[in-house]
């Protein structure tokens, strides 16, 4: 009987979005539509980058997939099951440091395991493995404030990996880092991604980041966020950012994005005038 009412989701897809919409503060005067009618299929092990102007709802979509917020329209499923609540299978990594400052690095990494009631020895073991994968095994007993911004984000990645997620959701994780560290972190992330076999949904407004990382780039329109187009990238990795292919791709993405940025600007100005 459930098969009649519920739409059919393929359990092969990591994430499926059907007609997803989100209106913040729905039903009030401050209601504001962030996302409209998003259809998206993400395969297991796929690296998808969400690209769009600020405030276009790409982070909102990430929160919906994580299960931290509820969609006002449409349905989201992960591996065939509808998304109703947050799950360790879909780990979210934030732009700002989200490490617990009162815990050591390894305690941070094994936080999710301690929630599940895993014993201390096993937790330490798993934390060490996860930290080895991000190259920070020697920082086990340090505290977050003793680490640089890049190291902290790597710890956050290790914390997500310790839960063995099938989907990694990343909300501009490297935005706060300097350019050199960021490009290092991108290489590092590709290594981790290849090892883990997880799908990655990665939000950014840096075109270079999309060019360096993505299997597919999803470009969003400005308010309300809708998928404008999806650009598949077939350039083999490792990608040389200065190769003619990458240059061409960067140009293409810039063109696609420019119209949206212009529109977002015009709207913001109109909004400011109205106020």
């Amino acid at each position: 009987m459930a098969s009649d009412s519920a739409p059919h989701f393929s359990s092969r897809d990591a994430v499926v979005c059907r007609g997803v919409g989100k209106t913040w503060a729905a039903g009030t005067r401050r209601a504001h539509e962030a996302l409209r009618d998003v259809d998206l299929d993400i395969a297991p092990g796929e690296f998808v980058v969400f690209l769009g102007p600020s405030g276009c709802g790409k982070s909102t979509l990430l929160y919906l997939v994580a299960g931290l917020e509820e969609a006002t329209d449409g349905r989201i499923a992960a591996f065939g099951d509808p998304v109703e609540a947050p799950s360790p299978e879909r780990s979210l990594i934030f732009q700002e440091t989200s490490l617990f400052p009162w815990l050591t690095v390894w305690q941070n990494v094994s936080f999710g395991l301690s929630i599940r009631g895993v014993g201390i020895e096993e937790r330490k073991q798993i934390a060490r493995q996860a930290l080895q994968r991000v190259g920070l095994a020697e920082a086990m007993d340090k505290r977050p404030d003793e680490l640089s911004g890049g190291m902290r984000q790597r710890v956050a990645v290790a914390r997500a990996l310790a839960m063995r997620p099938k989907v990694l959701l990343m909300d501009e994780p490297f935005a706060a880092l300097d350019v050199q560290t960021r490009s290092r972190m991108q290489d590092f992330l590709l290594d981790v991604w290849r090892d883990s076999g997880a799908s990655i949904l990665f939000v950014t407004h840096h075109i270079d980041e999309a060019v360096a990382l993505a299997d597919r780039v999803v470009i969003f329109t400005a308010r309300p966020g809708r998928i404008k187009t999806i650009v598949p990238i077939s350039i083999p990795r490792p990608r040389d950012p200065f190769s003619p292919q990458c240059e061409a791709l960067r140009k293409e993405l810039t063109e696609l994005l420019r119209a949206e940025v212009d529109r977002a600007f015009a709207e913001q100005e109109a909004l400011a005038d109205a106020v």
Binding site: P88, W102, I115, G135, R159, T181
Partner: protein
Amino acid sequence: MAVVERDATTGSAATGTSRPAAARPLAVNRLFASIAGWDWLSKAWWTCLSVGLFAGIWELCWAMGWADPQLLPPPHIFLSNFGEQGKFFNTATRWQVGNSMEGPSAFESVMITVAATTMRVFVGLVLASVLAIGIGVAVRYWHVFDKLVLPTVTLLSPVSPIAWLPVAIFLFGIGNAPAIFMVVVALFFHMVLATIAQIDGVSPNLINVARTMGASKRQIYGRVIVPAILPGMLQVLRMNLFGAWMVVLVAESTGVGYGMGQVIMLARNTFNPSLVFFTIAVIGVLGFAFDWLLRLAQRRILYWLPDTQEKLRGL
């Protein structure tokens, strides 16, 4: 991994912000460094200097004849005659012994009074903190509790402790209980509101991380929100410590029998400015010591907080 080394160097370069120091002349730098090595000594030195400066200005006013020693006796007068002053603290036992000339020595009676008042402040502070943090967390934890309790708390929090004084006496008569009640009632409502404000200020990212890790509501409160609000709560406690000292005097000045507040009342009734200033000095030292202890505890408990004071000094 090459990534590691690369990051480690950028990290250490970022933390070593010695630019403001380099702008100072070398000799001054060396002086600051030598002072920094004797951190506690330099702090003690500055404290003495600060107090000394204040006392010095007062003494100067007295020496110039601007301050009438009958009304504003300078420190060397009101501190000199410890034995004479201490005798007045003998109210401490007058009501017990029935003879003001007997009982403990001047020093002992000062100590008894100080200990009694300190105990009331301490017990009141602990009770108020435990109650306020408990209720504050409960308000955010259970929605119904929020709706039921918060309006009343908000309504009562602007009421001056003075207004509670008669209530304290009605309820507890005389003795320690009304004084402790006064301290609790003066701090409790503000601390509940402060706790709620602290909870609302917890970074949503930290909570979201715990949620994606599958933490239950109880786990989120116990393992994320409570540790996250601790630094702010200790700050609130420090601010309220002074409030507790203020209100305990008011409470003691009425029905309590003995304590610092009684001494102040005695000084007022017998027109004894020296005794007033002497008591003020004792209270100041006590409050200072309490604050110091609390800061020490803060540093112990909140090991993860960086020392921001240092950053401001470089400006």
